[in-house]
């Protein structure tokens, strides 16, 4: 099933300026979302908004058109959601024939691989705004694909930096059994190794008790160990993880997918002008901006920044600009963002938050890197087989 999420948004030239006589440059983009059946979870209080991602793209289109009207650049958005990758490929193929070259994708790693493989030899630029899968950035390296969503490795490193800076280097790791949980747990293990953090336990949560009623009995026994500084949880869907807090054997903080969370974006980020972005977003969407929205927003803003600076909408030129030293994106995180040439990952700070406040923003002071401190988060070039855009 394929459905259009919205009619094409056509921005009019609000302000046709004297002295700018060139024809309007049109930049069409598309947003494609794979609708996945979300697995049932124990805690069903806060479901992911259905329009997560789409709202981010829409805001970026509107921000870019405000700039575009001064330059006669007009950004248009098409979008579609479907429950099969094949349907999205068919839709994208027909949009490509109509002249759309930029696709913002919100789908799990497997879908993204299939989609990117289909368009490997086409003049397209794909943005992965949905998947955190580390393999996409280290082994698979899908062609023509940039990643605006931070990888699991980046998120885990952000958490690692926090605990290293607090000298709390003993973790009790609990992971769920779904693929995404495994991915994040692997990233946490990599971080632990990298930063000399000891995993005093590394346990899988496989029980099927309804923890809403029994957490107080089950969780203390499950987290019994001599000592640890924190319980680190890999439960992306929010199944059992919500019940770890305050139920651990030792009174210790919880971090990871619950408790202290490393995220691409959160409502509590308000420094560096982020308050303005949050306000614009809330006005448009009627809800808070989340990580999926942010990654989708950053994808469109990257294209728009390249078009603004090069005055061309041709994908090859845009990609060249994005990979050049000239490209920098103001992403409301206090540092300029740029892409890693080897795997197309957008470098970015990672906020560490709890539900109502920002705790810290990685990279933290003291974590140094010869290129940029942002490269202390996630895979180094030598850890990745990719050499996608290395010239």
């Amino acid at each position: 099933m394929l459905r259009n999420l919205l009619q094409a948004v056509t921005a009019t030239c609000l302000l046709c300026l004297p002295g700018l006589s060139q024809a309007t440059l049109s930049i069409p983009l598309a947003y494609l979302k794979l609708e996945t059946e979300s697995a049932p979870v124990l805690s069903n209080i806060l479901p992911e908004p259905e329009d997560a991602g789409l709202q981010g793209v829409q805001l970026a289109i509107s921000d870019s058109n405000t700039t575009g009207r001064f330059l006669k650049h007009e950004y248009r958005l098409e979008s579609a959601a479907a429950d099969s990758v094949a349907a999205l490929i068919t839709q994208a193929q027909s949009w490509l024939e109509e002249g759309i070259h930029y696709f913002v994708l919100d789908m799990p790693a497997a879908g993204l691989r299939e989609f990117a493989a289909h368009f490997a030899d086409e003049p397209v630029l794909l943005f992965n705004a949905g998947s955190r899968d580390t393999g996409l950035r280290s082994r698979d390296c899908p062609a023509n694909t940039l990643h605006t969503r931070p990888s699991d490795a980046m998120l885990a490193d952000a958490l690692g930096q926090w605990y290293v800076s607090r000298k709390q280097k003993n973790w009790f790791l609990i992971s769920g059994s779904r693929a995404q949980d495994n991915g994040f747990a692997d990233a946490l293990r990599r971080t632990a190794k990298r930063y000399g953090i000891t995993l005093v336990a590394d346990k899988a949560w496989t029980f099927d008790t309804d923890l809403r009623r029994t957490a107080a009995q089950e969780m203390p026994a499950f987290t019994r160990a001599d000592d640890y500084d924190a319980v680190v949880v890999a439960d992306v869907a929010g199944d059992f993880g919500e019940y770890v807090l305050h139920n651990t054997w030792l009174p210790r903080p919880v971090a990871g997918t619950q408790g202290l969370m490393p995220l691409a974006w959160h409502r509590s980020v308000e420094q560096w002008g982020a308050a303005q972005l949050q306000k614009r977003f809330e006005e448009q969407a009627g809800r808070w901006m989340n990580s999926a929205d942010y990654a989708a927003w950053a994808a469109v803003r990257s294209v728009a920044e390249a078009v603004t600076r090069t005055n061309s909408a041709e994908p090859g030129g845009v990609l060249d600009y994005l990979m050049s030293d000239d490209f920098e994106l103001a992403g409301f995180k206090g540092r300029k963002l740029s892409y890693r040439r080897w795997n197309g990952q957008l470098r970015q700070p990672v906020p560490l938050v709890h539900p109502r406040a920002l705790v810290a923003q990685a990279p933290l002071d003291g974590f140094l890197h010869p290129e940029t401190e942002l490269d202390t988060l996630g895979l180094e070039q030598r850890e990745s087989d990719c050499a996608l855009f290395v010239r």
């Binding site: 302000l15 300026l17 001064f70 330059l71 303005q276 600076r309 103001a330 401190e373």
Partner: protein
């Protein structure tokens, strides 16, 4: 009517007598963004002598020509407040459009050009009638505002659009746009009005624009030994009246760059408080004061010797600063 020499003399002494109050110590006025207050610093004793309650989230502040009034952007109150400097009371609220952040006063002492950060608008307010003269569409997140010394041009920078927008004051219309670095914050004309300096916070650069052609003619980079380049984030700019030296506040790098404008080279970096934001000279330009957002203080720079001499604790998140 003829004027006798004696009368001339007495007129002169009368003028001197009138000037006498001005000879009292200068004061620096600082807006504290997170305290909803203005701190008043006596520049003789270097102490805060008064803390004044104002509207919510005060940011840009500016005096009128004779410095009898202080205009205050109370961002979260969505208004520009007018304070009588003598009585230190708010005497009026001007319409400002939503979320006023920075503004500039036209040399005619009447038109305030206000950047409305949330609305992609610049609002022009007549302070005499208290009415909005015009609202002009600009880029996303308008921030910096300046009016040329001859009063013919107003400029605005927009942080997400990354442009300088040029407004013809007579027509109150936008006439041109110049692309600059990422997240342009502050715009400052040289005293002779030939150049416009614009800081780009995330770009890490300052663009020097030729006002006649509206083209960027020079781009300044900053390098501080041992400092990651992304922490160098230019915001406030102040240029000496003779145009020879420019000071650039470099945000979270906690330094102020001193630029020789003839060679366009940075000749020094001065360590000040944390996250240095805006700056103001004393009238004789012997001192330059900086607001340091995170450390919550004001640093005092000795300008002839390029030395930081003192820091003065003010409120939380000091933002704007003006001297009278």
């Amino acid at each position: 009517m003829t004027i006798s020499p004696r009368l001339t003399v007495s007129a002169a002494s009368l003028a001197l007598a009138l000037l006498a109050p001005a000879a009292q110590a200068q004061t620096a006025w600082v807006s504290n963004e997170k305290d909803n207050t203005i701190s008043v610093i006596d520049l003789e004793t270097m102490e805060v002598t008064d803390t004044l309650e104002v509207g919510k989230r005060p940011r840009g502040i500016i005096f009128n020509k004779d410095k009898s009034l202080l205009y205050i952007c109370a961002s979260d109150s969505d208004t520009v407040q007018v304070m009588d400097v003598e009585t230190r009371k708010i005497i009026a609220d001007l319409p400002s459009g939503e979320d006023p952040e920075q503004f500039a006063l036209h040399p005619n002492d009447r038109f305030l050009y206000i950047a409305n950060e949330d609305d992609a608008l610049a609002t022009v307010v007549d302070v005499k009638t208290g009415e909005v003269v015009k609202q002009i569409d600009v880029g996303v997140e308008p921030e910096g505002m300046a009016v040329s010394p001859d009063g013919k041009l107003a400029v605005n920078t927009s942080e997400t659009t990354n442009m300088v927008h040029w407004i013809d004051v007579e027509k109150q219309e936008l006439i041109d746009n110049t692309l600059v670095g990422q997240r342009p914050r502050h715009a400052e004309f040289t005293a002779d009005g030939t150049k416009l300096w614009v800081s780009a916070e995330i770009g890490g650069t300052v663009s020097v624009i030729d006002v006649a052609t509206r083209q960027v003619e020079h781009e300044l980079d900053f390098h501080i030994r041992g400092m990651q380049p992304d922490r160098i984030q230019p915001v406030g700019i102040q240029i000496t009246g003779d145009g020879k030296t420019a000071f650039v506040a470099l945000g979270p790098s906690n330094h102020v760059a001193v630029v020789d404008t003839a060679s366009m080279e940075v000749k020094d970096y001065l360590l000040v408080g944390r996250r240095v934001w805006h700056m103001a000279f004393t009238e004789d330009e012997k001192m330059l004061l900086t607001t340091n957002g995170i450390s919550g203080d004001v640093s005092v720079i000795n300008v002839p010797e390029l030395r930081v001499e003192k820091s003065i604790k003010v409120g939380r998140f000091p933002w704007g600063i003006r001297v009278r």
